[in-house]
Symmetry: C2
Subunit: 110 residues, 2 copies
DNA sequence: GCAATACTTGGCGAATTTACCAAATGACCA
DNA sequence: TGGTCATTTGGTAAATTCGCCAAGTATTGC
C-alpha cells in the first residue's frame, strides 16, 4: 500500500469513523426525519449539551450534516442522506446473515 | 435515549467501527476480488503480520469476513458483500456533494 | 445594560485503539 | 525429530476518543 492509496483509504475511513459512534448514529437517524436544533437533540440523547455539540461537529466536519443558524438556535440537517442506506446492511451484519442473503458485488442487502 | 435504544445503536456502531480503519477498508476491497490468506494481505499492506491478523480478527468478530483454514494457511473471504455498497456513498461524502446529488431517504448515492 | 437561553470551545482524566516485538501454536517437509 | 512457514496471542508504549465541567460567544427579551 503506497502513500496515495493509503491516503485514499484514510479519507474513506474518516467518514466511517464519523459515523461509528452510537450517539452519532442516533443523531443521523433522528435527522432523517428532519432538521433538529442542538437543544432538541440533547434532550433526546440525555447527555451534556457540550458532548452533543461535539458529536455534531464531528458529523459536520466530514460533511454528513449541515447547519443553519436561526436566531439563537443552530439547526442541523442531514446533507448526505445516502448514509441511511448503510443501516439495512448493518442490520444484516448484526443478524449474522451469510453470503446467500448478501452476496458480494454491489448488491443490496436486507 | 433509554438503555435498549442505546444498546441497539451500540451494536450498529460496532459494525461501523470495524470498518472505520484504512487498513481494514483496504482488506475489504481486496477481498471483494476473492479470498486471500493473511500472508498475501500482509504483503500488500506492508505492515507487521500480527497487525494484519488483528485487523482481520476485528472484521471477523462482527461477521463481515469469514475464514477457511487450508493447510497452514487461513483464507479470509467477504461474508457481507453489502458493505461494498458503502463505498459509493463514502466517495460522495468525500467529494462534498450536496442534497441534490444525494437526497435523504434511502436513495442511492454516487 | 442585564439576565437567561442556545451553543461552542478548552481542558482534563479515563477508556479505547493501534502498531510493533516477542513468544506460542499448528502444519508441512526433509 | 527438527526446522521452517503461516498465523495468532500477549504485552506495551503512543496516540486517539470520550464525556463532563468550566468558561466563552451570540441572541433574545426585559
Amino acid at each position: 500500500m503506497n502513500q496515495s492509496i493509503r491516503d485514499e483509504f484514510e479519507d474513506r475511513a474518516s467518514v466511517l469513523k464519523a459515523l461509528a459512534h452510537p450517539t452519532r448514529l442516533f443523531i443521523v437517524e433522528e435527522l432523517s426525519d428532519g432538521e433538529r436544533c442542538v437543544h432538541e437533540l440533547t434532550e433526546k440523547i440525555g447527555a451534556d449539551m457540550s458532548t452533543v455539540s461535539k458529536h455534531l461537529s464531528v458529523l459536520k466536519s466530514v460533511g454528513i450534516v449541515g447547519t443553519e443558524k436561526r436566531g439563537a438556535e443552530v439547526y442541523y440537517s442531514l446533507r448526505m442522506g445516502c448514509v441511511l442506506d448503510f443501516f439495512d446492511c448493518i442490520e444484516a451484519v448484526i443478524r449474522g446473515g451469510d453470503d446467500s442473503s448478501c452476496p458480494p458485488g454491489r448488491s443490496s442487502c436486507g
